[in-house]
Structure formats: structure tokens, C-alpha cells
Amino acid sequence: MDKAKKFKLFSIRGGVHPEDRKRLSAEQEIEPLPMPPLLHIPLQQHIGAPAEPLVRRGEMVKKGALLARSQGAISAPVHAPTSGRIMGIGGYPAHHASGLSVRTITLKPDGRDEWIDSLDPVAEPFNLAPEEIARRVAEAGIVGMGGATFPSAVKLNLRQRYRLHTLVINGAECEPYLTCDDRLMREQPGQVLDGVRLMARGLGVERVLFAIEDNKPAAQQVMRAAARVYPAVTVVGLPTRYPMGSEKHLVQTLTGRETPARGLTAELGIVVHNVATALAVYEALRHGRPLISRVMTVSGGAIRTPRNLRVPLGTPLSHLIDYCGGFTREPSRLISGGPMMGQPLPSTRVPVVKGSNGLLALTDEEVQGGREMPCIRCASCVQACPCGLVPLEMEAHIRAGSLDSSVRLGLLDCIACGSCAYVCPSHIPLVHCFNYAKGELAARQRAQHKQGETKRLAEARSARMEAAKQAKRAAMLKRKQAQEAKKAPPAEAAPAETTPAENAQAEANP
């Protein structure tokens, strides 16, 4: 009797079936990557405020030492991936499409890889209070490893605001090429499951759904075997379809309910976490180790030997590429993450960060680029969109410059999954267009905010000037009256006539 067989799934709209190309790396065991000569650890590897550095140049640190602490409610600390000397804190190219620089700590490993002494493992973590679990997760610098890099502790604390009942573990890994979650589940099922159960405890939920796409039968089997002893944990097989891994669609597949627009799945009582996040929680609680390395898939047609690697955070990508035998040919695209939602990388110098789950070097044939043609309204994008949007219209409005109407068409409900652009026969960069519009709207909002501020300032200033003028006029009037009191004939109209001119003068030369 298989539990999964009985589990009823619901259908979602849209979606696509990209060629998954996971075979390139699926059978490669996770290997630890040798320590590179230099690590570049950015202070911002998560959504929210950047971390604030606590170390100084020249200082020696040990592995796991706190390098920078979190700032504010939504933020995450950064730890040393190995022991060594701090070479400096300064601008370094970010792991980001823009190629802008970001504050980064440079660490020269000393080769000893010595842990700090103050590791604080918990022998019986299941006895910890939920608050304590969240606190330790926060201290370990754990952020969502499924790509969003949202500080996980904040999500664990959702229980304070919502009535939660289910934790969904996202093992969909629906992006082509990526196999790191797959390997994690196959190689460390016990640890993953332990982390999952700890998170369930942290959230205070009674049920865990462990969702894995059907194209990973080995992982499903292994996880099922591991979960058999825990009745609360159900391993569910998902139909293989992109973007099954999107949390809202995952939840809909599992429960048939849609998350309200602009809302959180927590409103349905459900929290979604990634497999790798679970493993990080396990490490943090059982061994007291902060998040200092992660598993990545290095793949793509231009990589000589695709691999799954455990990589210290801060390792330059060039190091990974060299370890995988370098390029077989000049790649046409170098991407962080999967091909559907990943980011283009400005160079191979940039470091690995907490959110990097893949490094892909793709060839022209894989990219399947084409000349951009006008939209032929084929509606493929409409049918592919898992969010019920009409991408072609949003795109047309954005190109025509009317962003407000594109928002009315649902721009802000777009999850940037890329399904639409993937199927477009005219090769229109739909998602790029939406990303631009979202950025432009955010910029406009910032400008609007600033405008509000400056409007207030301008009003305050003119009020001040007016008051000053009034005061001056009053003083002048007084003086005049005093003078007139001395002189005999009073002229009523004169002062009224002169004031405007004086005002103008005062305006011009205050």
C-alpha cells in the first residue's frame, strides 16, 4: 500500500515541458570542491538589508566565525566558510546580472580549515521550543535555498501570524539541468528528513508533504523509504511539468487551492521550504554549523564534465569551472541557476552565494535563440502562463510605454517563470520586458515617494518664507505706522499698493 498512490492531486493551468537535460549530471555524486586560494564573501546574499561587517582587515578568523551580523528584521548574517585571514572589505563584482559591485569580504584560506571552538550542537533538538529553533536558524544565516533567498527564520516564525497546518517540502526541482536537490535527497535522505521534521517542529505543524517530481524516481524511492517510519510525512509524486516548483502552484497541485494574489501560502496554512534549506537546518541544529557551503550543479553543453559539487560560499565561479575540466568550447551563455529563471553572469570572477544552485555554460544549440519577430498573437504564451495572464498584451503595453495598463493586466502577478518566453514562436523576450517594467515601476515608486517628501519640504519652505515675509511686513507696517504717527496726513491706499512690489522683491532676493 503506497501512500502516494492515494494522494489526490489537482491540476494547474498552463506550464510547459522543457527538455530536462538532467542526465548530464544526475548520476554524478556530490563531491566536495577543494578550497580555492581566495574567497569573496558578499555581505548581501539574501533578500533584505545587507549584513554589517564585524571583522577588520588583517584579522584571522576560524571556520564558521561570524563575519557580519544581520541588520534589521529581514536580513541574515554571514559566516566564514573556512579559517584564514581577512584580506579586506570592499567592492567586488556581485553575483548578479548587473555586474555592479557589492560590499564583499575577501578571505584568504590558511589551509587548516579549523572550526571555531564555540560550535553549539543540540543533542535533542526536538525538545527545543519553536522560538528557539527559529532563533538558531536565524543565527546560522540560513536563507531559502530554492532561489528566493528569503531568510528562513522569518518564514518559520509565520506561525505567530497564521494558523499553519502543513509544511510542504519542495523537491520539485523543475528547472532543466539542475540535479543538486535530487542528489541531496538520494545521498542524504536521513539528514534531509531530520531537517524537515525540525522545521515542522519549528512551524508547529502536524503534517509534512514532501513533493518530488516524477522524473526523479530514485529520489522518490529513497525518501519514501526514509519517511516510512514517520506517519506525519507523506512523500508525494508530482507530475513533471515546469513550473511545478513554484510554491503557489505546488500548493495548488497538492491542495487544489490558489494562494490569494499578492499573498503568502501561509494564508492557506501552508509553508513551503526547499530540500537544501532542510539540510541546512539539520546542520545548524544537530551540529551547530552555520550556512557556509552549498551544493551546486555545474552543467551545460559547454562544460567538459558536469558535476554536483559542495562548494564553500565565496568561491569564484572560475574555480568551479576549472574543477569541472573547463569549457569544451566558448559557451554562448553563462548562467547562474536554471535556464528558465536563472541570471546571466557578467563574468566567471563572481563568487558563489547562498542562493546559487547551478552554474550552467550553455551552447548555442541549447539556447535555441532566434531572431525576434513581431508577435503573431498565437496565444501560446497565454496557454503556457501558469498565472492566467495574457503576456502578449502586457508586453505590447509595456513597449508602448503604458506601464499602468500592464499592471492592470496583471504584471505584478507574474512570477517570471519564463514559460511564456519559452514557447513564443516569435522569440519575443517577454520576461525581460516584464522584469524591466517591474523594475521601472519600482523606480517610479521610489521617485514618487521622494516626490512626496520633497513636496512636503517645498511646502514647508514656502510656508516658512511666507511666515518670514509676514513678519517682515508686520514689522514694516509697525515702523511705518510709527513714522506716520509722527507725520500728520495718513494715506490709506499707499501701503496696500506698495506691498505687492515689495513682495516680489522679497521673493527675488530673500
Binding site: 557578467p346 495572464l389 498584451e393
Partner: protein
């Protein structure tokens, strides 16, 4: 290696392109077209060739005038397809200039004035067909009975050249009304359906393509097969064809039941004229039909209704072209009012709210 102007994901793509889409449609049309050549002989081939040639030349000329690169736009095959569909709706023995003028109208007025592929609001082939029908009603309503190639009544090569390119003499002798045209004139005279039916092709002839008509009207069967091929290849969805043919059949059955003497039955309606070609190849033109599935259902139903109304009560024997153009004009409205529901929102666009409706469905 640096990214000069970064372009966001996805960095992979389905194997689709405009050229492939258009190519598949042409492939789907090929059997019916070849069969039509066989049925109507060389004149049909000549007319077809002139129409397509003119379409491509017109496209090339317009692209040049607009200063667009000709290669990618010519290779996308849309002009060829437009010419092809137009040729399929012309009387097969029409003179060459009908095809050429039609192609010019389709490509220049119907498409390039709007800015070329994807920008046009009306189906270019139907624009041309209606314009031709109105301008040259004589040439556009003279049909011939099939005269299969190499059969005794088929014109020879030279004779065919005169039919298409010259001044045919004695051409009237072979002219033969289409099924719908015949019913229209006869019923218009007050003749009952039974008597009128005497002079028309049987249903089997209609299916097999042995009736007078344009290339695209004959052989309902081959056209249908082509349409199913498109469905299979996911170039089109079932919504428009089904809604259109369904509405047409429904109305025809209803009126036929009410008054069998004056209203033609549903099978004749479906199998004669351009109903099937229209439903699978013309109303489904991507550019000019709605994008949402509900919109497509409405669009198809509208086409079916208008086809029936035009055929039955208006002046023209066939209404597919008018119906498609009228619904094309409604497409922006349909697209405006019938959008898919956005994930997490209700039909009005408000975010869903679960406060009132407790735990409904789901495994919760």
C-alpha cells in the same frame, strides 16, 4: 566574458518559430490542394501559381518600401500562406488577374498597411476575397463542375492557358453553380427545397469533392484531415472549429426541423461551401482571432451564427468570409472583456479571499 546588454531568462527555447507554424499549416493544406488540382486541372494550377507568386512579390515590395529586412519576413512563410488560402477560395477557373489583384489586396491593404505580420486586424485572405467578390461578382461567382485531369472533359494544357491567361470562349457552357449558390437562387424564386435539391450534388459527392466550388470547398474530407493534423500538432486549438461548426449545425438543424421546405439541412451546411476550411484554417488565423480560450469559443460561435445568417437570409450564397471579417472586428472587444482569470484572483480581478469559504475541497 561579459554580458553587454543583459537579457533576462529563459535561456532555452521550445523548437518553434513562425516559419515552422506556417509551414505546418501549408503541409496540412497540401492534400486538399493537390486533390483540387486533380479535380479542376491545369487552370487551377495556373491560378494557384499566379496567386502565390503575386503574394510573395507584393510582400517583398512592401517590405522594401517599409525598409524592413526582406529575408526573415519572407522566409516566415506567412505571405505564401495567405496567398495559398486566398487561392483556395477562388473559383478554380477564374482568370489570372483575379488571383493577382486578390493577392495585392490581401498583402498590401490587408496586411502591410497595418505594419506587416501580426499587426493586421482583419484576415488578409478574407479581405481580398470579399473585396474581389464585391468588385468582380461575375468572375467570382462563376464556378465549374470538376473535370479531373486527363479525363475527357478536362481542358488541355493550351486550352487551360487560355482559360487562365486569355479570353476564354465558350466558357459559360461549363459553368455550374455551387451547391449553396444553387439553393440560394432556387429558394429565392420560391421553389421548395425538395425540388431545388434535384440539381445539386449529393452529400457523398460533397465529401469526396465532386461538386462545383473552389479548391478549398471541394473534398470536405481532405480539408477535415488537414484540420485534424493542425489540432494534433497544436497549431490551433479545438475551440474555434468546434464552436463554429457546432453553432452552424445547431442552427441549421433547428430551422430545418421547423420548416424542412425552406431551410437546408445541417449536413449540407457543414459539407458545402467553405465551412470546414473556414473553421479549421481561416477563422483560426492566429493573428485575427481572440487569444483566450473562452474568447475563442465565443469567436467561433459568432462565426457560425453569422455564416448561417448570411447563407440563409442575406444576399450572398456563402458567408464565411463576411462572418470571419465581422468577427475579426469584434476580436479586440472579445479580448478586452474575456480574459483568462488571473491566478489567485477572481474574475473581477480582486484577490481571492478564503475567509468566508471554509476548507472546501483539497486534502487539507
Amino acid at each position: 566574458m561579459t554580458v553587454k546588454s543583459p537579457r533576462s531568462a529563459p535561456y532555452t527555447h521550445a523548437r518553434t518559430s513562425i516559419g515552422r507554424t506556417m509551414g505546418l499549416v501549408m503541409l496540412a493544406l497540401l492534400p486538399a490542394t493537390l486533390f483540387g488540382f486533380y479535380q479542376f486541372g491545369w487552370p487551377a494550377v495556373f491560378l494557384f501559381a499566379s496567386t502565390l507568386l503575386a503574394a510573395v512579390l507584393a510582400e517583398a515590395l512592401s517590405l522594401r518600401l517599409a525598409g524592413k529586412p526582406p529575408r526573415p519576413f519572407l522566409l516566415d512563410g506567412s505571405a505564401l500562406l495567405t496567398g495559398w488560402l486566398l487561392a483556395l477560395t477562388l473559383p478554380p477557373w477564374a482568370p489570372w488577374w483575379i488571383g493577382v489583384v486578390g493577392s495585392l489586396l490581401a498583402i498590401i491593404v490587408g496586411k502591410q498597411m497595418f505594419g506587416g505580420i501580426g499587426q493586421n486586424l482583419f484576415n488578409p485572405a478574407m479581405v481580398a476575397r470579399v473585396a474581389l467578390l464585391i468588385s468582380s461578382p461575375l468572375e467570382m461567382t462563376l464556378f465549374t463542375a470538376p473535370a479531373p485531369l486527363f479525363s475527357a472533359q478536362a481542358p488541355g494544357l493550351v486550352e487551360s492557358l487560355t482559360i487562365t491567361f486569355g479570353n476564354p470562349v465558350g466558357f459559360d457552357a461549363v459553368s455550374s453553380a455551387t451547391t449553396l449558390g444553387h439553393f440560394k437562387t432556387e429558394l429565392g424564386r420560391g421553389v421548395t427545397l425538395d425540388q431545388a435539391a434535384a440539381g445539386t450534388a449529393s452529400l457523398w459527392q460533397l465529401i469526396g469533392g465532386e461538386a462545383a466550388g473552389s479548391l478549398g470547398e471541394t473534398s470536405a474530407l481532405l480539408i477535415l484531415l488537414g484540420g485534424l493534423f493542425l489540432l494534433y500538432k497544436r497549431i490551433i486549438t479545438w475551440h474555434i472549429p468546434l464552436a463554429m461548426l457546432g453553432t452552424l449545425a445547431l442552427l441549421a438543424s433547428l430551422f430545418h426541423l421547423l420548416d424542412p421546405d425552406h431551410y437546408v439541412g445541417p449536413l449540407t451546411h457543414l459539407l458545402s461551401g467553405a465551412a470546414i476550411l473556414g473553421a479549421f484554417f481561416i477563422a483560426t488565423d492566429l493573428v485575427t482571432s481572440p487569444v483566450s480560450l473562452r474568447g475563442q469559443l465565443l469567436f467561433g460561435a459568432g462565426c457560425g451564427l453569422l455564416v448561417y445568417v448570411t447563407r440563409t437570409w442575406a444576399g450572398y450564397p456563402e458567408g464565411v468570409a463576411f462572418a470571419v471579417m465581422l468577427m475579426n472586428a469584434c476580436t479586440p472587444l472579445i479580448d478586452h472583456y474575456l480574459k483568462p482569470r488571473i491566478y489567485g484572483r477572481d474574475r473581477k480581478g480582486e484577490p481571492l479571499s478564503y475567509t468566508e469559504q471554509a476548507e472546501k475541497g483539497g486534502n487539507a
